[in-house]
């Protein structure tokens, strides 16, 4: 299949795998963050392309992170594969249930209701002393599919890269399928889709579960990478707001966009946190305004333009 995107994805994966062998530890950590954040944002973009912006993706991110964490913390299972799978499963099941309610809403109401559920989880986590309440707790990753890890950090990075590759590839094919086409159609004109004979709610529900699973996987990978989970960096509404921000910042037309956007975001955040801790939010805000006003296609549109003129 002469699909350029597929070839580019494979090339990117290979580059990442090679880089994993030669890059210093800090670079690998940074790349891991960009990768798992990108996975979450990929899910957000699926929903945005279906016409819905969730302000509560932190719910699934937190579920994935805490699932991974409790596996180590409470059940002494420090296996990365298990963490990722359980994170995805927990998020998917909750999304399946909540989806029956949430798919009835649109626009602001969908946004607010999704925010509400993430804040409910936040409240539960803060009040839970076994889960460390506001401090959260630490975790470590010792094995992958039972195999002991000598360099956990690198393995986590590699796993993140492979999952990112699979997720991006899957999403690319999904958008070319009938269901993927329906997402854009629903965003444009839900009424017409319904009138053509298919259930809009069912499609939204499916996409919602997929985006939740991706957020759950991202959360699990985050927990593994950072080695710590707490309510504020996962379930609080400002974290969900960050995901929304990165989605808009990245652009929604390419499966590469979320990873590029996440990488830039993370780089700026690290830089700002070190040198301008009190103006980090302002920087974010101004950047967001700039992108909204002048780059409606996100930073990816800049990248596309550069590629074309090259």
């Amino acid at each position: 299949m002469r699909d350029r995107t597929v070839l580019s994805l494979v090339a990117a994966l290979l580059a990442l795998l090679v880089a994993g062998r030669i890059l210093p530890q800090w670079a690998i950590s940074y790349a891991s963050v960009a990768l798992y954040t990108g996975i979450v944002v990929l899910g957000m973009i699926l929903m945005i392309r279906t016409g819905l912006v969730s302000f509560g993706q932190g719910l699934y991110y937190a579920l994935g992170a805490y699932a991974a964490g409790t596996l180590d913390h409470l059940w002494k299972t420090s296996d990365l594969l298990t963490m990722v799978v359980v994170g995805a499963l927990v998020a998917s099941v909750v999304a399946f249930v909540l989806g029956f309610l949430l798919t009835k809403y649109r626009d602001i109401f969908f946004a607010m209701l999704s925010l509400a559920f993430s804040m409910i989880l936040y409240g539960l986590l803060v009040k839970s002393s076994e889960l460390g309440s506001t401090d959260g707790f630490g975790l470590s990753v010792k094995t992958f599919a039972g195999i002991a890890l000598e360099q956990p950090r690198t393995t986590i990075y590699t796993v993140a890269a492979i999952i990112a590759f699979l997720a991006a590839l899957g999403m690319h094919w999904y958008f070319r399928s009938h269901l993927g086409r329906l997402a854009g159609a629903i965003k444009d004109n839900e009424l017409r889709v319904e009138y053509m004979g298919t259930s809009v709610r069912r499609v939204i529900h499916i996409n919602y579960i997929i985006s939740a699973a991706l957020a759950g996987i991202g959360g699990a990978l985050m927990a593994a990478t950072i080695g710590h989970v707490d309510p504020e960096t996962t379930a609080y509404w400002t974290t969900s707001g960050e995901f929304v921000f990165i989605s808009i910042f990245s652009g929604t037309t390419s499966v590469f966009a979320p990873f590029l956007g996440a990488a830039i975001f993370e780089a700026v955040r690290t830089f700002a946190a070190q040198y301008f801790p009190n103006t980090w939010q302002m920087t974010l805000g101004v950047t967001m305004l700039f992108v909204i006003m002048f780059l409606p296609g996100g930073v990816w549109s800049l990248f596309q333009r550069a590629r074309r003129t090259a």
Binding site: I108, A116, K127, I248
Partner: protein, 299 residues
């Protein structure tokens, strides 16, 4: 347990009064401009910081303590009058016509900017100017004792509500407002200066947010992050009450205030998210909130 009901109701109403002042501005802005103003939270914080700072200066300057109340209110008005036009004319105006969700993101960006701006101007240390809070002494309601200040705030909320209700329902300006809420295009077509309505609405909304902050400032320690906390509660209130409805903001505030008070008294573990559970329940039963504005047919 039942013995706590009076306390819950009073605590709830007091909290509701404060929340109402913030929420009513938010719902007004949404009703007229169809924008969910996330920056409302930072305007609240800005109001709190400004009021606390100037009231503190006033009091330490040896002026009449009762005058500090005027300083609080004046600070709020100034904050609103400055930030309102700057944000609306300087930024929002260029975004009208774009998707609702884009406008929410714009106000979210403004929120982020204002959060740091506030930190830069006022510093990150907590600010506590409690004198105005204790100045009026205490009031006995049955066996319970409350600061008179908190009770007075209920009065302030009622006045704000009454004034807004009067303006919206009984004045010509209010009629224009209602026209714009109903149909922006039609209003422009009949000659209403929609741009001016927007400017005034947003400025009044900003003033109300700042007023909420200013009046709350003496009761608490003003520090970074108070805006973020309040804005999500305000969201919950306006969604519960119905976006754009004055009565909805009042009822929503009451529900949220009482539910939170009940949680604090009966089940403290639920305090943090009791509000969101209520919001979810209300939205399930009434998908557009309690007093929603009906929509016209599409085809």
């Amino acid at each position: 347990m039942l013995a706590q009901v009076p306390a819950i109701l009073i605590d709830g109403v007091m909290a509701a009064s404060m929340m109402f002042i913030i929420a009513v501005g938010l719902t007004l802005i949404y009703g007229v401009m169809k924008i969910l103003n996330v920056a409302h939270g930072s305007l609240y914080a800005l109001g709190a910081y400004t009021a606390a700072t100037f009231a503190g200066l006033w009091l330490s300057g040896g002026h009449a303590p009762l005058g500090s109340y005027a300083v609080l209110v004046a600070s709020a008005i100034v904050v609103g009058l400055v930030t309102g036009p700057v944000i609306e004319r300087g930024l929002l105006r260029f975004m009208y016509g774009r998707d609702e969700i884009v406008l929410v993101l714009v106000t979210y960006a403004v929120f982020l900017v204002l959060e740091d701006l506030t930190k830069l101007v006022f510093g990150v240390d907590p600010l506590l100017v409690a004198e105005p809070y204790g100045l009026l002494g205490n009031l006995d309601i049955g066996p319970l004792t409350y600061p008179t200040y908190s009770v007075a705030l209920i009065g302030v909320a009622l006045i704000v509500g009454a004034v807004l209700a009067f303006v919206i329902n009984k004045t010509k300006a209010g009629k224009m407002l209602r026209a714009v809420i109903h149909d922006r295009e039609m209003s422009a077509a009949v000659g209403i200066n929609v741009a001016r309505v927007y400017l005034v609405t947003f400025t009044v909304g900003a003033m109300l947010a700042a007023l909420g902050g200013a009046l709350t400032a003496p009761t608490t320690s003003v520090q970074p992050g108070i805006g973020a906390e309040k804005i999500v509660l305000a969201f919950a209130i306006v969604v519960i009450g119905g976006l754009g409805s004055l009565g909805g903001a009042a009822l929503g505030a009451l529900i949220v205030g009482i539910v939170q008070a009940a949680a604090v008294h009966w089940k403290p573990e639920l305090e943090l998210f009791s509000v969101y559970i209520v919001m979810a329940i209300v939205l399930i039963v009434r998908p557009k909130g309690l007093f929603a504005i009906p929509e016209a047919r599409k085809i």
